[in-house]
Symmetry: C2
DNA sequence: TTTAACATGTAATACGTTACATGATTAC
DNA sequence: GTAATCATGTAACGTATTACATGTTAAA
């Protein structure tokens, strides 16, 4: 049983949105799926090709007056069926996500506490930036797209980023306190 | 500028603990670093070899009466210096962690809401199991190892797992409510 | 005797990124 | 003219997993 990657389904799913070209998919992923998925052109184009070969998508080349020609992909009936099957398939085990900060802290026993606190501050800043970005997107969705039926799912996925990032930010502060307390002892 | 992997430093760091063999490192990682790092034998043994070649570690073969012979590694002065440098190096950018559930939810607009709720329940159960495991380890550390100086860092890394998992569990419930609300409309 | 735990290692494969390569069109 | 955006693609490389391969010792 191979641990089949979901990347293929990310592309297939994007074919059900307004994304029809490899280029626009990349933009969509970098923009809206950014906090839970990423993908490079080095994967997108070969996967699109293979989706056509498998019968899950079709292509046609569209000439444009004002832009370079593009390949427009659309999902086939078979592709939609395949997507449905994947959506209904049970989730795989949650994989451990590597965390550089935690790895460093784990080996920081003989290290100066000041350095650990500095690392925690670095992380907190990065997390705070991320949090603000998500908040900005959420505001945009709730004010501009409140009528869209789809927006519930957008909000849900964004909220995941927000709540877990918030928890991580608070943890940074907590951990700094713990380290300062220990220093005094 | 290559995006140098931290895996080498995970091994180097383990050499500062009671772990001296590839086998015991694997156990340690699967046990105690489990929520923020993982590694396979296919990486451990080649990396240990390369650490020796780089002068960061040394080996000796130890025969045992009751067990198969093992290779015991120790960190060298140079290795410790290298580890220090890494500990003090600024954190890389936080990478986006792929999340199968969020990917599925993002493409669930035309899907039956019941299926989305089912996926959220699956995730919640997995998260709850994980949370309980972390709690068990934390109890063990706080009751049995409270005297150890090192325990602060263990607690901190564990707490990260606890607070982010807790946040994710709550998010699952929230999201289920949101989907149910929308269904009624 | 056979299973589990201890112990080490390599080869094939999968997955993903980055660099490379090309070229059109638009806006400054 | 030149930078930015649009647009597609491949080759080389890095990273990590899995399967394969081997063997010891202890406990049931």
């Amino acid at each position: 049983m191979s641990k089949e990657s979901n990347t293929k389904y990310a592309i297939l799913g994007l074919l059900t949105t307004e994304c029809t070209t490899g280029y626009s998919m990349k933009q969509m992923i970098d923009g809206s799926l950014n906090h839970f998925w990423k993908i490079s052109y080095g994967q997108i184009y070969p996967i699109l090709k293979s989706l056509v070969e498998e019968g899950y998508a079709s292509v046609r080349i569209t000439e444009q007056d004002d832009r370079p020609a593009k390949k427009e992909y659309s999902i086939t009936a078979e592709g939609e069926k395949e997507l449905q099957l994947w959506l209904q398939k049970p989730l795989q085990e949650i994989q451990t996500e590597k965390n550089e900060l935690l790895l460093k802290l784990f080996f920081s026993r003989h290290q100066d506490v000041a350095n650990s606190i500095d690392l925690l501050d670095q992380q907190k800043n990065k997390l705070q930036d991320r949090y603000n970005t998500y908040m900005g997107i959420k505001d945009m969705i709730t004010t501009e797209l409140n009528d869209e039926l789809d927006s519930v799912y957008w909000i849900i996925t964004l909220d995941y980023g927000l709540v877990t990032t918030r928890a991580a930010i608070d943890w940074c502060e907590d951990s700094k306190s713990k380290l300062r307390d220990q220093k005094e002892e």
